[in-house]
Amino acid sequence: MNRFEYLRPATAADAVAAAAQPGAAYLAAGTNLLDLMKGGIARPDTLVDITRLPGLDTVETLPDGSTRIGALVRNARLAHDAGFARRYPAVAEALLSGASPQLRNAATAGGNLLQRTRCTYFYDTASACNKRQPGSGCDALHGDNRLHAVLGWSERCIATHPSDFCVPLAALDAVVETHGPAGPREIPLEAFHLLPGDAPERETVLQPGELILAVRLPPQAAEFAAHSRYLKVRERTSYAFAVASAAAALRMEGDRVAEARIALGGVALKPWRAREAEALLAGQKPDAALFRRAADAALADARPSAPANAFKIELARRIVARALTLAAAGTPNRIPALPASPFAHQTGGAHHA
């Protein structure tokens, strides 16, 4: 690991000033950043430790009914906040399906949004990677790419964004509150991460030094609480990133879907909102055929980035259809012991709000 300056600013403004300098990086829990530094993938000159900044570690309900999650709220704390989990069960389920208990105890909300891809060529400094070293090429393109993107990728980069948390956040219209050198601003989560295009090294719309203060869920997000699920297919039962995943949330009126929200994970370099699929569901009576049509619509633009990942397209369709089915059946009273897993018992009580 390179030698670096370590700063612990007392205010957000000081943090932003320090982190705006070239070569500086924010340090939250470090569960991603420190691994990258140990592997020589990230070599910041200055670490700006934000974990002692005041006021960023609370979950608040705002007067308009929004929920504001401070950037430093730990993943585990958020998921186990009973009030939060009741209002946004798919978010809690997604959080609990990620990483391991130890990691979730440490990992922060802001860090989760900004975690880097898990593309193994990105992590291997001996490989060419446009994201790590712009213009060097993409060794994943003809390499071990079984789990790479099927949506929104470019020849420059076929990686996926690994976050589970971001998937239901995207579905529920979350907004990211930031503070940058140019002052505060708000960015819809859906517009926060960038697709690779010609510049996969640009990962988000954040400006240098821009600090995430909070993630906000709008008042409407809670209206889906009774019919919200996250479903994550993995290569082992726990402690694995998604091969593909989906968040599905329905606002039911009688036996009809008034409004649907769908987002996919593990398929693109950002959480993938499926608006066409949502539109198909509005006003309809839920059934298997409808959900399958929605799933087809969600993946309509998908194409494999390599033959090895072609299977993910049909897999993702099936995940969307199942997630919708589970959501329609009702949010369970308790988050299953194996959150978001196909092996979570599907039978058992549902909660009707």
Binding site: M1, G40, E235, S238, Y239, K312, I319, F343, T347
Partner: protein, 751 residues
């Protein structure tokens, strides 16, 4: 179990009740409280930290290292490269016996595999050494990497595994295939796997004058000492290797590996004690791995489902510069009766580190292929897989024609099947579902592992206070060897376990050989048992030859050692304590040695193997293909069980590894570069808690008078065999899809 008899002095028996008890491991509390010292915990005054720089290419030459930049980094003390590496007394490329593996000790600028050490940076702190290694920024002259089993240049190795013939046969396989009613031919692939012991290879090396002390995890202390002595031109007596605890070894710590020796070289170069701990990703190269295989099985049966021919062919890979050929086909020698059996091996050479023994080397890889093929053959015959295996039960070892020294496999099948509920299995696949609609499959596999003996020595001491000391340089890799050997030792002296001290884990104790081949308990245990016997005989002589002893004259009748006393065998009311005997003789202590090795007569007359039957239940999501092993029942017959609790843990560990083999583990090798792309435990998947099924390990009674004095067969490796195949067969039974490319991944089920 019959009472243990003394071999050397059959007049005397010892009576102990320690063996067979489910004692809790003695190291458990130390480990969970952090008090157990592992090699890297060793603290020496003035310690420096060494970090490897490793090659990123698979093949070529290092043309430049920025040594100046590394040295300029604050805290860096020195950089060891081929230019300044201290001289060795022996060429690291020399190979005078098959157990001597060529090492990469900076002997030149050549690169022959990814992650080969190319320099060592030594610094005041670990951080400085790590950054120094990064600053070396090597440049290379790169040649194309040769990777994968499709590499050119297939050849037939002379031997496979540990000197086994690469080809073996009996009967005419081609004729058997030609004339058969039913035939199956299938090819299975197993990937490269890495041992990934929790504890990385680590060493703290410390020269004091002409003496060298190293703390390093070792499964073979005396061999490590000998290897160091050869390389450094030292008298082995001047080298002390300490390894009280290993955080797992699985074969990768059987021989001292290159990186550990580089730690010693760094100490020599700097004249200061040095600690070198491998980074996880550095373990994917210089410390061995399980080689990949492509196995083709050809089987044929008559109309009744009796095997007529079995051909097991393996293509594997070794490194370009040394020989280890995964003996995967050899499993077919023992398991199923067939009038014609042939096993054969081919290999290619790839730019990887040299493969090595990895828990059940050959058996694990061979088992998953053979058990899958047997399942396919049973299916072709329309038979239940258990019925098919019973139909083809080997009453004698098929290839050698030798009788088995013992074989309670039929009982394993019976008990395992009953406990598992095998009879509820549908014959056809994809018939069973659970309440949630998940596909349910049942599969089985036969487990087998040879009952081996290597060589070991032990010393037993009886002290004047009536307590005992037993010494043998045995290795506790986490299997609980300390505890099991202490049990054997206590019984060998007729003492309670609290009355003895058992010393192990150092090279200055009697050479206990190697903890490998599932033979450590059998071999070192026998040596301990014999050392105890010998010292009891000596004690008995002191008593029976002394007129003042109540045992005087009992020489012919013999004595029984029990609870610290010798009793006259024909009159147990006459007895004397150990302490009284030594007291009268005016001796502070008496000691004797014991040794154990293969008994050539028994090995010539009998086929000696442990056996087992493993039954697996898996669930598969019908849409996603995501798989979960939900239940595993294994029944194993492995001779005498010294400690049922430890044995169960070993069997569980093996069974979980079987799940891992079937469903998770693989090194993702990029065939363009030969690099392993998942060299960390985040991406190199092994089962996590949620993947570990409900486990049950039954030990079936088996009395084996031939394997060794104790009647012990090993249990360290057998658990993997059978289990991996059982899981794979269960996946087929759940889904109707036969995946032959391991591990079984969901894309192969739904793709």
């Amino acid at each position: 179990m019959p009472e243990l008899k003394l071999n050397q002095a059959p007049a005397h028996v010892r009576h102990g009740s320690n063996m067979g008890q489910p004692l809790t491991r003695r190291d458990g509390v130390l480990k969970v409280t952090g008090a157990a010292p592992y090699a890297a915990d060793s603290k020496v005054e003035g310690l420096l930290h060494a970090v490897l720089a490793v090659s990123t290419i698979a093949r070529g030459r290092v043309t430049h290292l920025d040594v100046a930049a590394a040295k300029a980094h604050p805290g860096v003390v020195d950089v060891m490269t081929p230019e300044n590496r201290p001289a060795l007394a022996e060429d690291p490329d020399a190979k005078t016996n098959p157990f001597m593996f060529r090492l990469d000790l900076l002997q030149n600028d050549r690169v022959r595999y990814p992650n080969q050490p190319i320099a060592v940076v030594i610094a005041d702190t670990l951080e400085a050494a790590t950054e120094g290694a990064a600053l070396l920024a090597p440049r290379y002259e790169t040649e194309p990497a040769r990777a994968g089993l499709d590499t050119e240049g297939r050849f037939s190795p002379n031997t496979v595994g540990v000197g086994n013939p690469a080809e073996a046969s009996h009967g005419d396989v081609e004729a058997g295939l030609a004339g058969a009613a039913k035939r199956v031919e299938a090819t299975y692939e197993t990937p490269a796997q890495y041992h990934n012991a929790m504890e990385p290879h680590a060493i703290v090396a410390h020269f004091e004058g002409d003496r060298l002390t190293v703390d390093t995890p070792s499964q073979g202390l005396a061999m490590a000492q000998g290897r160091l002595a050869g390389l450094f031109g030292m008298d082995p007596k001047n080298i002390l290797v300490r390894s009280p605890f290993l955080g797992g070894g699985f074969g990768s710590k059987g021989f001292i590996a290159g990186p550990q020796i580089l730690g010693v070289l760094a100490a020599k170069l700097t004249g200061r004690p040095v600690k070198l701990v491998l980074r996880r990703e550095h373990m994917y190269g210089p410390v061995g791995h399980r080689a990949p295989t492509r196995q083709t099985l050809r089987l044929a049966t008559d109309g009744d489902g009796a095997l007529q021919a079995l051909h097991h062919h393996t293509l594997t890979a070794s490194s370009t510069f040394d020989d280890f050929f995964e003996p995967a086909s050899d499993i077919a020698h023992t398991l199923y009766a067939s009038p014609a059996i042939r096993t054969s091996h081919e290999a290619v050479r790839v730019d990887s580190g040299t493969p090595l023994f990895m828990r059940a080397p050959g058996e694990a890889t061979g088992s998953i292929a053979l058990e899958s093929a047997i399942d396919e053959m049973a299916e072709a015959c329309g038979m239940d897989p258990l019925e098919f295996r019973l139909k083809n039960y080997a009453e004698i070892e098929p290839l050698s024609g030798k009788p088995f020294s013992s074989k309670a496999l039929r009982e394993c099948y019976r008990q395992g099947a009953e406990r598992f509920g095998w009879s509820k299995r549908s014959l056809a696949p994809r018939q069973m579902r659970d309440a949630d609609g998940l596909l349910v499959g049942y599969g089985m596999g036969t487990a087998t592992f040879p009952a081996l003996m290597f060589q070991a020595n032990a010393k037993a001491i009886i002290k004047r206070d009536g307590t005992g000391v037993v010494e043998s340089g045995t290795h506790d890799m986490g299997q609980g060897a300390w505890t099991a050997f202490a049990q054997v030792a206590a019984d060998s002296l007729g003492l309670d376990i609290e009355q003895i001290e058992y010393r192990a884990g150092r090279s200055d104790l009697p050479d206990a050989g190697i903890a490998g081949g599932s033979a450590h308990t059998a071999t070192a245990g026998t040596a301990i048992h014999r050392a105890g016997a010998a010292v009891i005989a000596k004690l008995a002589a002191l008593a029976t030859e002394n007129p003042d002893s109540p045992l005087y004259g009992a020489g012919n009748a013999g004595v029984i050692a029990r609870e610290g006393r010798l009793h006259r065998r024909d009159d147990e009311s006459r007895s004397e304590t150990f302490a009284a005997i030594l007291d009268r003789a005016g001796l502070d202590q008496i000691e004797e040695s014991g040794a154990a090795a293969t008994d050539p007569a028994a090995a010539g007359a009998y086929a000696m193997h442990a056996h087992g039957a493993v039954f697996a239940e898996v669930k598969v999501d019908p849409d996603f293909g995501q798989i979960r092993a939900t239940r595993l029942v294994g029944a194993f017959a492995a001779g005498r069980i010294i400690n049922p609790k430890l044995v169960r843990s070993q069997l569980f560990g093996g069974m979980i590894w079987g799940v891992s083999f079937a469903l998770h583990e693989h090194a993702a090798v990029d065939h363009r570069t030969g690099r392993v792309m998942n060299p960390n435990l985040g991406e190199y998947h092994i089962p996590v808690n949620a993947d570990v099924p409900a486990l049950e390990a039954i030990t079936v009674d088996e009395h084996d008078p031939h394997v060794n004095d104790l009647g012990v067969k090993g249990v360290g490796e057998i658990g993997i065999t059978g289990s991996a195949g059982a899981v794979a067969n269960a996946v087929w039974h759940a889904t109707g899809v036969r995946v032959r490319n391991f591990p079984i991944t969901l894309d192969q089920l739904i793709g």
